[in-house]
């Protein structure tokens, strides 16, 4: 299967290892992956801050660069939501967040992955409520979770849940600086719940949230770190 990889701008600059893991994971699963090098950003940072008009350049880039691919996969729920909502349907509908691509398109049933660590799952809001990667606590609906479905295929991994399973971490794009005090408090509360569970890693499907949580962990000089779910699914660390 031919797949194009979209690596969000901040992942490209700050967390290239997440792009690498996503690419390797897709290749392991038999995809021929192309990374069009002209790509930049999906436009979401501007649009969510109220500057939708300044996002159109980015959106048009994405549309142009990726128009020849049947599937575009990205390790970010929030970029996926933005592009689905802002590109013409024919383009937007071909964009997949990596977890849903694995469960819905590739229908992955097994993984050659091993990660003998205790991890806590952070459900990022846009993936959860925007893409419906999992059932949400607000709604009266049968429980399901694409990320958990995938993590359960990884050997040795011990998954523990925070007390509030899907509370926002407080990143929120420009919110993280314009409402710094509340943003940090929200992040601290998330981190506290995971640390109370003694996790080695907080794992999620959006690096933006994880970058914020990592900033708080590092300020506390914690030994716990963050990982993108693609890094865990791509890991091979025999116990």
């Amino acid at each position: 299967m031919n797949v194009a990889l979209f690596v969000p701008c901040y992942v490209d600059q700050f967390f290239p290892q997440v792009g690498v893991a996503t690419l390797e994971l897709l290749e392991k699963l038999g995809c021929a992956v192309t990374y069009p090098t002209e790509q930049t950003c999906c436009g979401q940072p501007m649009a969510n801050a109220g500057y939708e008009h300044l996002a159109s350049g980015c959106e048009m880039n994405v549309q142009r660069i990726f128009s020849s691919f049947e599937y575009v996969v990205t390790p970010s729920g929030s970029c996926t939501v933005h592009l689905r909502e802002h590109l013409p349907a024919a383009h937007g509908s071909r964009i997949y967040e990596v977890c849903e691509f694995l469960t819905d398109v590739l229908r992955v049933k097994s993984l050659a992955a091993s990660f003998p660590h205790r991890i806590g799952l952070h459900s990022s809001c846009h993936g959860l409520r925007g893409l419906r990667l999992a059932s949400m606590s607000e709604q009266n609906e049968p429980a399901f979770s694409k990320p958990i479905q995938l993590l359960s295929l990884v050997d040795g991994l011990e998954l523990v849940y925070p007390e509030r399973p899907d509370e926002c971490c407080g990143f929120g794009g420009t919110f993280c600086v314009t409402e710094e005090a509340v943003s940090v408090k929200m992040g601290q509360d998330r981190v506290d719940e995971h640390l109370a569970n003694n996790v080695d890693y907080i794992v999620g499907s959006d690096m933006s949230c994880l970058m914020h949580l990592q900033g708080i962990l590092r300020r506390r000089k914690s030994n716990t770190d963050v990982l993108h779910i693609a890094q865990v699914l791509n890991a091979y660390e025999p116990a």
Partner: protein
């Protein structure tokens, strides 16, 4: 922007960590009670859909249903008044009070009168106004606005309430037992009830078909006030009307489950006509609602039944408190309704959200609150009400991110600079750095790694 915008007020709130944790946990507990109640009904999502459709339908023919309600109420012997805005509403109330020579009134369950600032208006006219619901009375004594539409004194601990009663009601200091405090309030209010000849209540639902209206309370004060007084004035926003009696069941089942997790309020009082010798008035208030109705992107905010579930679930509200929203209705719905009334004054509110979307999914009438917050942001920026510095940085960012070459160049330069001179960003004037470490810039971007991949493999 505002003198104390949401972010600044929230910073003050959060500075008291213990109180913030307590506020957050109390409201989260209520959210969990709501979850239990909602998840206990297999038809919950169906009910939400139904409620949403009934409201959508009503809003699409609001003029007709309002006129029908007026006629029905009139037939029941109720006098109906129309108020275009808050001032007109207050003047109508005053005129009614003057007509009956009333100098003391009791009031229950009315966020609308809060929205219209009725209390200060009447007090200026020499009228004694007593809010009879416990939470409202507490904040009234403290001369504070409510911080929550259902739980107006949720920002206060029982120690604060004891202190307030000690100061204002002359009871001994240090009473913190909730039962004792409630009893003190009850005794104090009983006397007020007996001496008031006019009672004002809010309205939760007004039935066009019958002209009756329903007031939902847990303390029963609306009934006590209305039954004791010679005159009952019910104030309602025009969006409170529903077509028929049979629709009430849908809303009554949703309202309190969403609000507090109770299956139903202790009292759902149906008022249809004045008892012999009593007079009943209904004031239908627009105050910006018809304007909101005309805004395609925001009209569905008028479906709101004021359950407060979006407050309780909002992670920002729980950690910033109702007063940080500087408006009668705080929380996500307040941030969607208030810009309609005064865009400039409330330009900060749609940004007081992470757009996490939790509100949208607890809302019993399915208002897409996060989408509307997002849309208000666009309106506010287009109106030139965003801070100039933000606009400048967004312009810069967009310029950079739109050009692949510039982006790569800036990325390389930026990462190199940050690695060499981390002190450039690691200081207290960088809002990110106040409570968090900066992410470490990678030596190589993914793009660089990919370009070299073929060579190293």
């Amino acid at each position: 922007m505002n003198q104390l915008d949401h972010a600044a007020a929230a910073r003050q709130f959060v500075a008291d960590t213990q109180r913030t944790n307590w506020h957050d946990e109390t409201l989260w507990w209520i959210r969990q009670k709501r979850d239990k109640a909602a998840h206990g009904l297999p038809e919950w999502e169906h009910l939400r859909e139904l409620a949403s459709q009934i409201k959508e339908h009503t809003l699409s023919k609001l003029d007709q249903y309002l006129e029908q309600f007026e006629q029905s109420a009139h037939r029941n012997g109720v006098e109906v008044h129309w108020a275009a805005d808050a001032n007109e509403h207050n003047q109508i109330v005053l005129a009614i009070l003057r007509e009956y020579g009333a100098a003391r009134i009791v009031k229950s369950k009315s966020m609308l009168t809060e929205e219209c600032h009725l209390n200060p208006f009447l007090i200026k006219q020499g009228i004694e106004v007593v809010d009879t619901d416990l939470g409202e009375r507490i904040v009234q004594l403290r001369q504070e606005p409510p911080s929550h539409i259902v739980l107006p004194a949720i920002h206060l601990k029982k120690e604060d309430v004891g202190q307030t009663f000690h100061q204002h009601l002359g009871v001994p200091a240090g009473i913190i037992d909730p039962k004792a405090l409630t009893e003190i309030a009850r005794q104090h209010l009983r006397e007020k009830f007996v001496h008031a000849n006019v009672a004002i209540t809010g309205v939760n639902f007004a039935v066009a078909q019958t002209g009756a209206f329903v007031v939902c309370t847990n303390e029963g004060n609306a009934d006590l006030g209305a039954h004791l007084a010679d005159v009952h004035i019910a104030c309602m926003g025009i969006e409170k009307v529903i077509p028929a009696q049979e629709h009430l069941g849908v809303f009554l089942r949703l309202l309190t489950r969403s609000a507090t997790g109770q299956p139903i309020t202790a009292y759902s009082s149906h008022f249809a006509k004045p008892r012999p010798g009593q007079r009943m008035h209904i004031i239908l208030v627009d105050n910006g609602r018809s304007h909101q109705l005309g805004r395609a992107d925001f009209r569905s905010s008028l479906k709101c039944i004021r359950c407060g579930a979006c407050f309780n679930t909002c992670p920002v509200y729980r950690r910033s408190g109702g007063h940080s929203y500087h408006t009668a209705i705080a929380g996500p719905i307040g941030s969607v309704l208030s810009p309609n009334l005064d865009l400039k004054k409330h330009a900060d509110l749609p940004f007081a959200s992470t757009l996490c979307g939790s509100c949208t999914h607890v809302c019993p009438v399915k208002i897409d609150l996060d989408k509307q917050l997002w849309k208000w942001r666009q309106v506010i920026v287009a109106a030139g009400l965003a801070p100039a510095s933000k606009t400048a940085s967004m312009n810069g960012l967009s310029w950079l991110l739109t050009s692949p070459r510039l982006y790569r160049l800036a990325g390389r330069f930026g990462r190199w600079t940050l690695r060499q001179f981390p002190w450039l960003v690691n200081h207290r004037f960088n809002p990110w750095y106040i409570g968090r470490e900066m992410p470490l810039p990678a030596r190589k971007s993914f793009g660089d790694w990919y370009a070299n991949r073929g060579r190293t493999n």
